[in-house]
């Protein structure tokens, strides 16, 4: 099979730092940022060609965490693939589980009881809260804040993780959704604890914004940096807060109306400039909308079963066919494409990873900016290598 022809600027395998002489610009420096790097959100490598401090060319290189999750999915039953989906975007296991369960339910035509749908929405919004809180913390950490906003974010995240632990048994690898509902019902006292958390989260966000949003250094480092035009965002398949910061109003919770989202009143924040500061602000505003959804869901959750009574745990088989199911995960559109031939394992199991596709525009965003800005831009794209590489 063909390999792209080697241009004078493309990295030779094995090179770490070399100076490349180009006939127009003088010396260009090519460095490899990563894969061992504290700020690249995982084992991620960027081969950056610099003219002084300005980025002239940037090629992302990943695959260091590739575990061939899709092949494992072909050799595993539908149920046994559920714990593997926890490990895709390992910060947001509840939404990964829901996307997979939704795809399988579309494939097999199962229905989900109302209480389970409410629980799924509550957990998805809690996941959105913890993901965006983490992102704000990590973005500031990458920007050089050496940990203080990150630790405040993690302190609040621990409260949400405690809720997940009390419900599903595990903080991060929850393995909680099943085809036709949720695995177990909430233990006594859980809903009250969740209500208390949702009511207090607004105060934490106020304090966090007091720390960050008006901070002059943050504004200087993120405003005008990494501007993403809306046309490029749509063409490049960017989804999630990154797309909405560019001004495109596309939120799968509103467009597809999956689960019971049409019952809840919430707004979708949009950005005006598409730069890094907008991506940060859109996430903060989304957190406030998530709190609203949480309060509504926790107020209205009905009693009832959490699992479809006709659903079988073992020996689940879907009729031959295929289905693509997607949800609005905290990072973007996470979807699963499943082809079934009627057997216990799927014939084809494909994950549509939002972080992977959002990285398409990394080079476009970083060109013309300095090296320090690439770190901040990468931080605002919000990638998790478990999802990028699968």
């Amino acid at each position: 099979m063909s390999v792209a022809e080697v241009s004078p600027l493309s990295p030779a395998p094995g090179s770490r730092v070399r100076a490349v002489r180009d006939q127009f610009h003088g010396d260009l420096l090519e460095i490899s940022m990563g894969p061992h790097h504290p700020s690249t959100h995982g084992v991620f490598r960027m081969v950056v060609t610099l003219d002084g401090e300005i980025v002239v060319k940037l090629k992302p290189v990943f695959g260091y965490l590739h575990r061939n999750h899709e092949k494992i999915g072909e050799n595993t039953t539908y149920l046994a693939s559920m714990p593997y989906t926890d490990r895709l975007d390992y910060l947001c296991s509840m939404t990964n589980n829901w996307a997979y369960a939704l795809a399988v339910e579309k494939l097999s035509g199962q229905t989900v009881p109302e209480r389970a749908e409410y629980l799924r929405i509550i957990l998805a919004e809690l996941t959105r809260l913890l993901n965006h809180t983490c992102l704000a913390g990590f973005l500031l950490q990458d920007g050089g804040c050496s940990g203080t906003p990150l630790m405040y974010a993690f302190r609040e995240r621990e409260k949400i993780l405690d809720l997940f632990e009390a419900l599903s048994g595990s903080r991060m690898m929850c393995n909680y959704q099943r085809f036709g509902g949720c695995r177990v019902d909430a233990p006594p006292g859980w809903l009250e604890a969740a209500r208390a958390l949702a009511d207090n989260y607004g105060r934490f966000l106020d304090e966090y914004e007091e720390l960050l949003t008006g901070n002059e250094i943050l504004m200087a480092r993120t405003q005008g940096i990494g501007r993403l035009p809306a046309r490029l965002a749509v063409s490049a398949g960017v989804t999630g807060p990154m797309l909405r910061a560019a001004g495109v109003a596309y939120d799968i919770r509103k467009v597809d109306g999956y689960g019971l989202y049409p019952r809840f009143g919430f707004r979708v924040p949009l950005g005006d400039h598409g730069d890094t500061y907008d991506r940060y602000m859109v996430r903060v505003l989304e957190m406030r909308e998530s709190i609203k959804i949480l309060q509504q869901a926790l107020r209205d959750i009905p009693a009832g079963p959490v699992m479809d009574p006709k659903a079988r745990l073992r020996g689940f088989r879907a009729k031959p066919g295929e289905a693509y199911g997607r949800i609005e995960g905290p990072k973007g559109e996470i979807g699963f494409y499943l082809i079934s031939e009627g057997g216990p394992n799927p014939y084809r199991y494909r994950v549509r990873p939002p972080s992977f596709i959002n990285l398409t525009v990394l080079e476009d965003l970083c060109l013309g900016h300095t090296v320090a800005d690439t770190i901040v831009i990468l931080g605002s794209i919000d990638i998790v290598l478990g999802e990028v590489d699968r």
Partner: protein
């Protein structure tokens, strides 16, 4: 949104001679797809993106699928009337038709402008061995850039017209295409004793001198 049949009819009217057919998806999801021939695929993709009624500007997902060579067996029962007024006997005839395998690229398209979807496109290669080229749709939707690279890397479909076709998840010197159904994984990976007898047996063949630790369930191993 239009049904796949309506889209097919409009495409055939606009681009006569294009190979467009509807692939019915059995099962409850009912997401039927359009099978496109390689010759006019890019033109059709541009039409789907720019047509004011469809405006499918968002290519959400590009998947590769590997279909192995199969044999389709059709059983034809011909009745022959029995003696007198007796019951008819059936003579069975099995027709075996080889169905050659191919690689497939499946595109899921949505519209951000009109908020509808999905429209599913399928492109199939001629076979799995040497005619594995398909037209790249990256010039139409930029989101195909990394995803088509991944399909090339893991399945081996060569996308003609892709700006930068090289491996993305596996390292550059890797030789095979891992997601193919007939991929044989190497068995000389680093081994360690596990309760699984066949892993141990496989690994022992490569390291005959080093015996596994004696206390690993010596009693009952096959």
């Amino acid at each position: 949104m239009e049904t796949p049949e309506q889209i097919r009819d409009r495409l055939l009217a606009r681009i006569p001679g294009a190979a467009v057919s509807v692939v019915v998806n059995p099962g409850p999801a009912a997401q039927h797809s359009l099978l496109l021939g390689a010759a006019h695929a890019r033109e059709i993709a541009e039409f789907l993106r720019d047509d004011p009624g469809l405006q499918l500007d968002f290519c959400s997902n590009v998947s590769g699928v590997d279909w192995l060579d199969r044999e389709i067996v059709e059983t034809i029962k011909t009745p022959t009337p029995g003696p007198g007024a007796g019951p008819a006997t059936f003579a069975e005839q099995k027709i075996r038709r080889p169905h050659p395998g191919y690689l497939e690229a499946v595109y899921h398209l949505y519209s951000m402008a009109l908020k509808h979807g999905p429209v599913v496109l399928r492109l199939r290669t001629a076979d799995r061995r040497d005619q594995v080229t398909l037209p790249s749709l990256t010039p139409v939707w930029r989101s195909c850039e990394f995803q088509e690279r991944e399909v090339f890397d893991l399945f081996g479909i060569v996308f003609a017209g892709h700006p930068d076709l090289r491996r993305i998840l596996m390292w550059d010197e890797f030789r095979d295409h891992p997601m193919r159904k007939d991929y044989a994984e190497p068995d000389d990976y680093e081994w360690e004793p596990t309760p699984h007898g066949d892993v141990l047996a496989k690994a022992k063949r490569h390291y005959p001198a080093a015996e596994p630790a004696a206390s690993v369930k010596g009693e009952a191993k096959p």
